[in-house]
Every structure is written in structure tokens, then in C-alpha cells.
Assembly symmetry: C2
Homo-oligomer: 330 residues x 2
């Protein structure tokens, strides 16, 4: 490993993210955007971009098709991100965002292509080959239509067989089944954790109820995850690990674009994993990078200054856990 640890990122449902800035939107007429942006998107794509901008050797795998798939791949190559997409017959999805002058944001998410079993089998061949060179794998984002929820679990099992630890960031059944396959780290947000645990984890004030969050996260460890890192938005991170429970808090509420902040956290967790950092340091970096992503206007990018500043100002604290919150969090 002359270039250091290599991280494989799988983005099964990448996107072309298109943003139009329209000062005064006419929702029943013709608009002429004053600014247009188009960039590679999807959670795994953001993770790979962030790791790449750290100088970490990365390979992005995924499934892509049509002109939109070509545009995503071209955009990644222009950014210098190594990418190997398996072609599919369907058209890669677009996301379309309209930002108006009053800060309202309307997002239109296309469903993306339906992927056949034969196409996914070809992806699997590329994935298995890439695992031989990888020190960690990140599985991030939704499954394409047409694939059973258990396919992410299968990819984790395949990685484990190659001795490669997995970081998982997805939702719903794919998350539930993926956890059972034993990923090293899972990174749900509060909504995903609520869906999985089947109960509300916020109080009447809308803030996370930490005791309940710890308990729900500990349950995911019991189900198979090596560690669980819950993103709490402006309230930072809560981690339940074999090394205990930790809370990382950014110094202050940040203004900016929260889209992609979770992906920055995922990237930092994967980096901390391959570096073998202590959990408190992993979380310090993850919280600082998440905050630095909020400070950048574009998902998949971060503010290096905000990151450097955040490393000094994030507070990381070991959490005590009440017995009823689960024995795995001590």
C-alpha cells in the first residue's frame, strides 16, 4: 500500500444534481434561472468526493446508465475521482432543486433506473474484484428499484469474507438487513433510527431524547452492527461502540446547507476506521467535517478552514448510560 489505505465506495443509485437559483419563482409560469449548477450526486458520490479531496485513495463503484449516467461519470472524472460504473439499460436519476430568493427550496427526486438481476450480477463481479485492493468499504445511499432490500447485506457479507470492514449508511429494510450482516459502523440519522426502532426519539420540543437514542442505537449493536453513530443535526453525533458511548458536539449552530453533512460524517468515519483512530478522535474529526460540510454551499464539498477550526472546538465527551439503556453501552 504505497499510497496508504484505500477505501472502496459503493453508490448503487448515483444522481446528477441540478440546481436552479430563481430569485422570484412563478410556480405557474416561465422562469429564467440566474444560476444553474449540475454536479455528480448521490450519497456515495459525496463520500467519495470528500475522501478524494483528503488525498485518500478511493474507488467509486456504482450502476449508471443513459446520458445522465455519462454526465455523472464525466463530472467525477473532471474532479479526479476514480470511478468504475457498471452500465445499466435504464437512465440514471436526476435530482432537481429550485432555490428561491426567500430561501425556499423545492427538491424533485427522480426515482432512477430499475436494475435487473443480470446488471447487478455484473456490478458484483466488479465489486468483488475491487475488494481485493480495499481496506474498507462504504455502502452509502438507496438501493435502485428492482433490487431486493437484502442486497446491501450481501455486499457486506462479501466484504467480510475478503476481510474488509464495511461502513453502512442507508435506510429502511436495506438498513435493517444490512445491520444483521455485521458492518463495522452504521450511521443512521434520527429519522432512520426512529423508523428502525419503531418509536419516536424526539421530545415535544423536537429535540432528540438522548437516553432513548442511546437505547435504540445500542439495540442496533445487539442486532449486528459493530458501532452505531447517530447524526443528530445541529446537536452533533452520538456513538455507541464497543469502546463505550460518546457524544461529539460542534461549538455552535451553523448556518448553511445541511445536505451532504451526513455524507461528510460517513467519509470521516471510514477514514478513522482505516487509520485505526481512537473513537473519541474519530468522532472529533467526523463532527468537525460534518460542520465543515454545512459551511460549504455544495453537497460533497467542505470548508477546509471550518474543518480545521472545528477540530479545535468540537467537544467529545464519554457518555454514561443508565442500565435500562442497554448493556452494550456501558
Amino acid at each position: 500500500m504505497s499510497l496508504g489505505a484505500k477505501i472502496l465506495v459503493a453508490c448503487l443509485n448515483p444522481a446528477l444534481d441540478i440546481t436552479h437559483e430563481v430569485p422570484e419563482v412563478d410556480w405557474d409560469g416561465v422562469n429564467r434561472p440566474t444560476a444553474v449548477h449540475a454536479r455528480p450526486g448521490g450519497k456515495g458520490t459525496n463520500v467519495a468526493r470528500t475522501l478524494h479531496s483528503f488525498g485518500i485513495p478511493v474507488l467509486l463503484l456504482g450502476l449508471a446508465g443513459g446520458g445522465t449516467g455519462t454526465a455523472v461519470e464525466t463530472g467525477l472524472r473532471q474532479l479526479g475521482v476514480p470511478v468504475e460504473f457498471t452500465p445499466v439499460a435504464g437512465e440514471t436519476r436526476r435530482t432537481f432543486t429550485v432555490v428561491d430568493g426567500r430561501g425556499r427550496v423545492a427538491l424533485f427526486n427522480e426515482p432512477g433506473p430499475e436494475v435487473s438481476a443480470a446488471e447487478f450480477a455484473r456490478f458484483w463481479v466488479a465489486y468483488a474484484a475491487a475488494l481485493a485492493e480495499a481496506d474498507a468499504v462504504v455502502l452509502s445511499g438507496s438501493l435502485p428499484r428492482g433490487l431486493p432490500a437484502g442486497q446491501l447485506a450481501g455486499l457486506i457479507t462479501q466484504a467480510a469474507a475478503a476481510g474488509v470492514p464495511a461502513v453502512l449508511d442507508t435506510s429502511g429494510d436495506a438498513l435493517r438487513e444490512g445491520i444483521a450482516a455485521g458492518p463495522a459502523v452504521v450511521k443512521p440519522n434520527l429519522a432512520e433510527l426512529e423508523e428502525l426502532s419503531g418509536r419516536a426519539l424526539t421530545g415535544a420540543d423536537g429535540e432528540a431524547e438522548l437516553a432513548a437514542v442511546k437505547s435504540a442505537a445500542a439495540a442496533l449493536r445487539a442486532d449486528g452492527a459493530g458501532a452505531v453513530v447517530v447524526t443528530l443535526g445541529r446537536a452533533g453525533l452520538l456513538a455507541v461502540t464497543a469502546d463505550g458511548c460518546w457524544r461529539a458536539r460542534p461549538p455552535a449552530a451553523l448556518a448553511g446547507n445541511a445536505t451532504g453533512a451526513g455524507d461528510a460524517v460517513t467519509a470521516a468515519l471510514a477514514h478513522g476506521l482505516v487509520l485505526g483512530r481512537r473513537w473519541d478522535e474519530r468522532l472529533r474529526h467526523a463532527a468537525a467535517l460534518g460542520a465543515a460540510a454545512v459551511a460549504a454551499p455544495v453537497a460533497g464539498e467542505f470548508s477546509p478552514d471550518a474543518y480545521a477550526a472545528g477540530l479545535g472546538s468540537v467537544t467529545v465527551r464519554r457518555e454514561t448510560v443508565q442500565p435500562e439503556e442497554g448493556s452494550s453501552c456501558r
Copy 2:
């Protein structure tokens, strides 16, 4: 000409038209479209598609770049439309339409690439070569950013030098300067004619004031146009020609998608030109095809049944003109 007359269509600023159907739009949240359509767009592209679907030999020329340009070209090839785009460094524009369940339509038009003089010079070479094989040329749509308004006039002059009559459908200064170059036919809509003539042409009820429209159209003939056909929406067409004034009316107000109806009229006028049809027959076909385009859900397509029916039910009438309306309309 073993295959009959060939029509060259120049679309300098083509587009990829993307439509999202969203039953209940949240203008400040996340939407998941129930249907997504993407197809080649731009006025000239619609004209070429319509002519091609009549079996008329056509060649579409234009300027295109980036992944979106590739997507437009791929889409045209899939439709079988012969196309020869000159590559440009900028990214071809997208139009994005959101149709909600209550019939509201929000359209977002990207400006499209800025085209350099060197890029346009390369287009010109392709255009001049294609003129040698053409019986008519259609110049339809807006000029890309970066090109002076007089460039369409230059293309008309070049065509005239090759003995090829031109049909012009554009707006603003490009229309004004183009008319001076002597196109065989110009096809303004009411708004374009109002802008050019500098006066309102509708009454208090919003309907076109025919006498004023005739007068304004006659003025464009005096400025250089061989014939002027004004599209009046549901009120049909008004033509001022060397053969007199004509009015063509569809039988009834049509429900449907008026986008692209003007392009169908342009296609029919070009077809009538190369066939040497009498003006009343040109207008009958043009009005019927415009109505048939309204009856089709997609710009650039038309309903063959509505077209056939329209040919029998459109009324074409020679108009009398008052002396003050211009001597060229007698």
C-alpha cells in the same frame, strides 16, 4: 432529388426538455415525481421532428455541448432524425417543467451555453455545405449567448446566395435583423409581432385586433419578409403574402398542450414552400397541423387523426384590407 425536397433546419440553441409530473407539489420540500420524461427540445428540433415524421428528408444542424448535448443528439438519433451538431465547449441547456395535479405548469429555462465566434465559424462551414443539398432552410429559435443578433440575418443571406429560401421563427433583434435579410416566410406570434411593431395588438378583451395585426404584418413585408404568417393561438393564423391576405381558423378551441404548436405551423409552412402549394392550401395545412400538435401531449409531436380531421374542418378565407393597413396587403 430522388427522395423529394430536402429541408435544412438550423436549431442554434437546442435543449433537453425534462418534465416531472408531481400530483401535489411541495414548493418548499421534497417531491417524488410519479412520471419523468426527457426528450430533445428547442424550436428547431420540434420542426425537424415534425418534418421527419411526414417522411420529408430533413437535416437538423445546430450547436451542442456537454452531457446534455450528447443526450439531445442521442435522443434525436433514436427518433431517426438526421442530425449534425457542431460541438461547443459549453453545456447545452435544459428546460425543466413541473406539472402538478391541478394543471399548474412551472417552467424553468436554462440560458444555454455561450458560443464563441470560433465555434460559430465551424457551424457556418457545416451550414454552407448543407445548403448545397437543401431546397429550403428553417431558422427556428433563439440565438445562443455570445452571438450578435445579426447572425441569423447572415445565415439567411448565405442561404439566398445558394438559392435556398428561408423560413424564420425567432424574436427580438434577431427577428428584426433577420427580416431585413429577406426570408421567404417569417412566423411571429402575437407577442413577437407586438414587440417588433412597438404597439399593442390586442383589445381590452385580450383578443387580437385583426386590423392592427394585418397592418403590423404588412410592415414586416415592407421591411424585407416575403410573407408573414402570424400565429394567433386559438384564433388561428393570419398571413400577409404577395398573393394577398389570408385567415385560417381551426374549427373550435382545442384543449391540450399549446407548446410546440407554433413549431408545427413552421414545419407546415416550410413543407408548403418546397411543395410550391398555393397560400390558401399552405395555411390550411399549417392550421390543421398546429391544431394537431395541440392535441398531442408532447411538443414536436402531433396527432395524425387530428391533422387529417383538421384539413377538412379548417376554414381559410381571403381577407379584405383597409387602405390604412398597408398597401402590400391588398
